[in-house]
Amino acid sequence: MSNTSGQATAFMALTPIQPGEEAALRSFLEALPQDGSPLARLAGTHFARWVILRDWVNDPSQPREERLESPYLIFTSNFDGPLDPYLDELCVKLTPEAREIWGRCVGCPPDATGPQLKAYLLHNKIDTGFFVAAYPNSTVAQVKAALAAREQLIAFAMRAQDMGPDELFRAFAEEF
């Protein structure tokens, strides 16, 4: 079982969708904007997703068919730092949407917030077997800062090609 790689953590919750709520849940999720996603409020989130699992895919070679009793909502997140504080933050910051999302799942606490929501998500946690991260020791903030610094350096380096030593020296001091 490996839910972490470096400081990066993987989380997955699999929650049963209330009878008759699948379509509404799907519509709600699909209408969420990517630019302005509620998940952005959790600053330590690298990548996360909600996926609806309608049923198992059966292969003809299986001796028996396997069917799910109901559709399920998968939530996965790849984020910084330990699980506990992340869930604490999630259960506060995602409250309005949580009602529309986990609120449509069986067993979700009525308010879909706080410690009760956290307990619900932990109850429905699926452990990760093997987790790989390309930059396991870097937080979202570090990644964003590094990306910005690289952009800044490239832009400066291109301007610098036209500068003599004195101008370069001054410009660098100004820029950095």
């Binding site: 690289r150 490239i154 380096a157 291109m158 090609q161 036209d162």
Partner: protein, 470 residues
């Protein structure tokens, strides 16, 4: 599996080459299926195949390709059309966002009705001289005139820019002044002798040719080779699929004067002000075709593209950091060879070998005279034509992943400097001590029109003319 050369249209496996420097592309529109098929039947008689010529060389060649809209216009049932690839059926114009055909290259601005669905049948004439090809054209135009339900949508003339007085082995130049067209995929059973450089790079410096099915349908492709069941790749339903190939046609206008100015201005700041070296760094070859990897300091004056081994080089053994041929150079992007791998990876060609294309482009428009740095308003560029078994896996992957972006080469969003796509960031780093960065002033290449087509085998073409059942 023996190659049936008589069933594959000519110029696909073996180029007509510099003996046929003049090319005319005629796009026809079919408004009546019966009339269209009758006309197709009449012109399909004289289509050139890949068979060796018996007797003297023909004075011209004729080949035919069809768009998806063309198949429909010729009465091919939807059930059969459904067996063609998705991207072919959507057409190039519908995929403009992916290909980077945005802004000035947007299909809305395209020439001659290309990309509107009106282009149905493409007839390609290859001739030895302008006057000879004009005669062929006149005859073709007359046949269209006579045929009910067929009209001409668009014509494009193109001609190899042969270096005057040069020997036969000196490759023609394209409009930016670079030798072009010599490096092509090596195909098993067809061009095994070109495997060194043109094939798949293997461990230990060896090479092997590519499976024919990567370019011609109905034959085993690279997947077939590793399939215990030896399944052939997906292809349109017979009789149309066998011996056919997918064609990408793109009219690319080249803004030569701005390109020259940018090079001149940038070279002033480049080490030693060497404009020729900087130009070579952008492309990956010196203007005469000498690869930078094998000859990083100066071009080889005696370089012959047809000499054995002239194309035989790879990147990881001597140039992993791009100091010879920059990581983002045009040829390194369009055919990475072993360049996407890493030294410890045994089979470095694995990430690139399924994305090769056969290129048969021909420049159009008069070349801009040497040393002219001002725009003369003349339309010139390249009629880019390539053949592949899968447009999405081959042509489109190269365009999207390798030319219009830099991630695969660890170059962020940097796109190919020569093409200057609006999708990427456009800067180019010339690796060195210190590195030099180029920032372009805007795209040097604009897409003026394009189509995805299918070039059927000879028998398939005749079947198409007779009428395909559902």
């Amino acid at each position: 599996m023996a190659v049936d050369r008589s069933d594959i249209q000519g110029n696909v496996l073996r180029a007509y080459g510099s003996s046929y420097p003049c090319t005319a592309y005629v796009f026809a529109h079919v408004s009546d299926a019966g009339g269209g098929r009758a006309w197709l039947g009449s012109i399909a008689e004289a289509v050139s195949s890949d068979e060796e010529w018996r007797g003297s060389k023909p004075s011209s060649h004729r080949n035919i390709a069809v768009t998806c809209a063309g198949l429909r216009a010729l009465g091919v049932p939807e059930s059969v059309i459904g067996t063609f690839s998705d991207e072919f059926r959507q057409g190039m114009a519908a995929r403009s966002e992916m290909l980077g055909d945005l802004g000035v290259s947007d299909p809305r601005h395209w020439d001659g009705g290309l990309g509107t669905g009106a282009a149905h049948v493409l007839v390609i004439l290859n001739g030895r001289a302008r006057d000879e090809i004009e005669a062929e054209l006149a005859s073709l135009r007359a046949s269209i005139e006579r045929a009910p339900g067929v009209s001409i949508l668009h014509e494009q003339y193109a001609e190899l820019l042969l270096v005057a007085g040069a020997a036969a082995n000196v490759p023609a130049r394209e409009q930016f002044g670079f030798a072009d067209g010599a490096a092509q995929p090596a195909i098993a059973g067809v061009s095994d002798d070109a495997a060194a450089g043109g094939g798949v790079p293997l461990a230990g410096g060896a090479w092997r040719p590519l499976a024919l099915g990567e370019f011609v349908l109905g034959y085993p492709d690279e997947d077939t080779l590793v399939d215990p069941q030896k399944r052939l790749p997906s292809a349109p339903a017979d009789p149309l699929g066998r011996s056919g190939t997918y064609v990408v046609y793109r009219k690319l206008r080249q803004d030569v004067a701005p390109f020259r100015r940018v090079l001149r201005d940038a070279a002033a700041r480049f080490v030693g002000g060497d404009e020729e070296l900087l130009a070579a760094k952008v492309v990956g070859r010196w203007r005469n075709g000498t690869p930078l990897v094998t000859s990083p300091g100066r071009p080889d004056p005696g370089f012959s593209a047809t000499a054995p081994g002239s194309n035989s080089f790879r990147y990881l053994d001597v140039d992993v950091d791009g100091r010879r041929c920059p990581l983002g150079a045009h040829i390194r992007r369009s055919n990475p060879r072993d360049g996407l791998g890493w030294p410890a990876l045994d089979d470095a060609g694995l990430l690139s070998f399924r994305h090769r294309i056969i290129r048969r482009g021909v420049p159009y428009g008069p070349p801009l005279p040497a040393d002219v740095l001002d725009d003369d308003g003349v339309d010139r560029g390249l009629v880019f034509v390539c053949f592949n078994a899968s447009i999405s896996r081959q042509f489109e992957s190269v365009q999207l992943q390798w030319l219009n972006d830099g991630n695969g080469f660890h170059l962020g969003h940097d796109s190919d400097f020569l093409l200057g796509s609006p999708l990427g960031t456009g800067k180019m780093t010339v690796q060195g001590d210190p590195p030099f960065m180029l920032s372009p002033q805007g795209p040097f290449v604009t897409t003026r029109g394009g189509e995805y087509l299918f070039m059927p085998g000879i028998a398939a073409l005749r079947a198409l003319a007779r009428g395909i059942g559902g």
